[in-house]
Point group: C2
DNA sequence: TTGTACGCGTTATCAA
DNA sequence: TTGATAACGCGTACAA
């Protein structure tokens, strides 16, 4: 491998000068600069990142800790992070915890070992042990900035970007109420899960704001997965007085609800309205397409990296929390296509 | 940051001894080892990867170059790669080319700069310029092993893992023929695209093997995207003698076909059978669920890394090509649910 | 079994 | 405007 020495020799200058040309630092005469450039090119030189990192203490790497990249809700965020990072030629390391704390701890210590310049932490699980908190604190003490996306970790005060779940569910409930629904069921995530609780609270408060008391029979807990949505929908549809609408806490469960309705011969949206949350791409691919809360995940990814870079650049201010406002995408799972067309035409008149 | 010197001092030994303990190399007495272990722990030491890399010349990083991680067909592969890499505590850098050659070239030189230990190259595009080849050759000359997954690059002889498209389409055509279809349309990828051509050829040969001549009117080119599948399906369904089955070269296009059929009031599978390729998760989520060729993407990812590690470890042999045999997943888009149930029952008798 | 000292390839400081 | 050289923190050959 060609080193800076080889380039210096070829250009007939010192290594210091080559370094100056490479890093656009210090003074170099135009003539020397040209010589060096040529040597650089002809030798196809690329600086050794290890030697460089030893001095600069920057790895130009950021870590993205998430539950599982196979969950489509994460993919646009990951892509947003990658794109924003690449603007400064940073690369992103993806760590799939699968909700396993031991794994996450391994990952956090790896992140520390390899000296990432920053971390984006995005997990749906609420950790039970304090070890994760300890490791995150160690990282912070080392000066590694962290931006939180999913579940906040108790006692770790860092910048946070979060979705306004209250607003999201207000949009959902408002929409359903306008359609005449009063008996609205909710399929949430696991108990003792921060995000699940936040969305449940958001649902209940929205209902109350419309003067509807929530029937506790209609509040179900599942696992954020399609199969969980299916199972809970089956339960709800088998009730003596089944709900006329089911609001799921995420799209995957809502898709499970759709499948369950179809299997039980329940027509959507005529007999049952269904809504999701996240607006993953599948929401538009399924039939009927799913009314969902649009979370601008790609932008959230970009935004997180912007904050991370501020910290990497040494900006010093108190941790802040940014709320992202979602919007509603109305589709066939709540409003029949013909009705939507009629509505659109009425609006355009 | 604590260094090996600090640990040595704390343990009352030399840095060499600490290094020996850390790397399980050389002889260290049990007593000293214990002292060092304690110092290691109490100082919460982690070796500087830059200094280490400078010596070992290993970054413990591998690059995964693909078209776009937002395409669900890639996600399981990425996850397989990550999981297999993590077994040796390697991490994976994802590079989304978006089919843009300039971007890919930037990426390849970044990969070289940061001294990744290996590369997995997985692209649907067939590059037009020779620059990509040049960069890949540079990498190979530097001793960086490469495993190809998608489109082979002309003139770059490396290990390759590829799907047996011929087998895949044979399964599709066989299935459709058994159902009585003869007038089968094909919606492929762009012209001059390796994978698209390979799958088209696979389709044509399968058809011929069943003694069916392919009507060139029924062979369409699209872009591997849902919208492309929709548009070509619209064209096919508007023909005087429309096909009774449409085989798409990937699932996304097939899902577009399903949507188009629904919009035109064509019942699937009764009036039109539809098949995909890749078996992305959406294939089971859509309605009707999609008959598709199951490509074991996760395993392909793992397999690629296994080969990469062999090369990283210095195995010396000629480049080999591994063919992955796909299987068929029969779902509602070709066989009505009731028929499948009947069939199953008949089989179990 | 342990320690000393060199070299890995940069960047940065200081002197020229 | 340029060059010599001292770090950076580790692994390892060699000496003890």
């Amino acid at each position: 491998m060609v080193t800076i020495q080889d380039v210096a020799r070829a250009a007939g200058v010192s290594t210091a000068t080559v370094s100056r040309v490479m890093n656009h630092s210090g003074y170099v005469s135009e003539k020397t600069r040209k010589k060096v450039r040529e040597a650089l090119k002809s030798l196809n030189y690329s600086p050794n990142p290890f030697a460089k990192g030893l001095i600069t203490r920057k790895s130009e790497l950021i870590g993205y800790v998430l539950t599982n990249i196979e969950n489509p809700a994460y993919v646009p965020t990951a892509r947003g992070i990658q794109d924003a990072a690449w603007v400064r030629h940073y690369q992103v390391l993806i760590y799939n915890t699968d909700g396993n704390e031991a794994r996450e701890i391994e990952f956090l210590s790896h992140l520390r070992r390899i000296r990432v310049d920053g971390i984006i932490h995005d997990s749906v699980e609420t950790p039970e042990s304090h070890l994760i908190r300890t490791h995150l604190s160690d990282l912070l003490n080392d000066g590694v900035p962290i931006v939180m996306l999913g579940t906040p970790i108790e006692g770790v005060r860092v910048d946070r970007v979060s979705i306004n779940n209250a607003k999201g569910f207000h949009l959902i409930v408002e929409h359903l109420v306008q359609l005449g629904h009063r008996r609205i069921a909710f399929i949430g995530g696991p108990e003792k899960n921060f995000i699940a609780e936040d969305r449940l609270k958001a649902f209940v408060q929205s209902m109350e704001s419309f003067g509807i008391e929530v029937d506790s029979e209609l509040v179900r807990h599942a696992d954020f997965r399609e199969s969980g949505g299916y199972a809970e929908a089956a339960h709800l549809l088998a009730m003596d007085r089944p709900p006329t609408a089911i609001a799921a806490a995420n799209d995957l469960m809502a898709i499970g609800v759709l499948r369950c309705a179809r299997d039980h011969g329940v027509r959507v949206p005529e007999e049952l309205a269904v809504t999701g949350f996240d607006d993953i791409r599948d929401a538009t691919l399924v039939f009927p397409s799913l009314t969902s809360v649009v979370v601008p995940s790609y932008d959230i990814g970009k935004r997180s990296v912007a904050i991370l870079f501020e910290r990497i650049d040494g900006v010093d201010r108190l941790p802040e929390e940014i709320f992202i406002e979602p919007v509603l995408a109305i589709r066939e799972s709540t409003v029949p296509r013909t009705a939507r067309r009629a509505k659109r035409e009425a609006a355009s008149r």
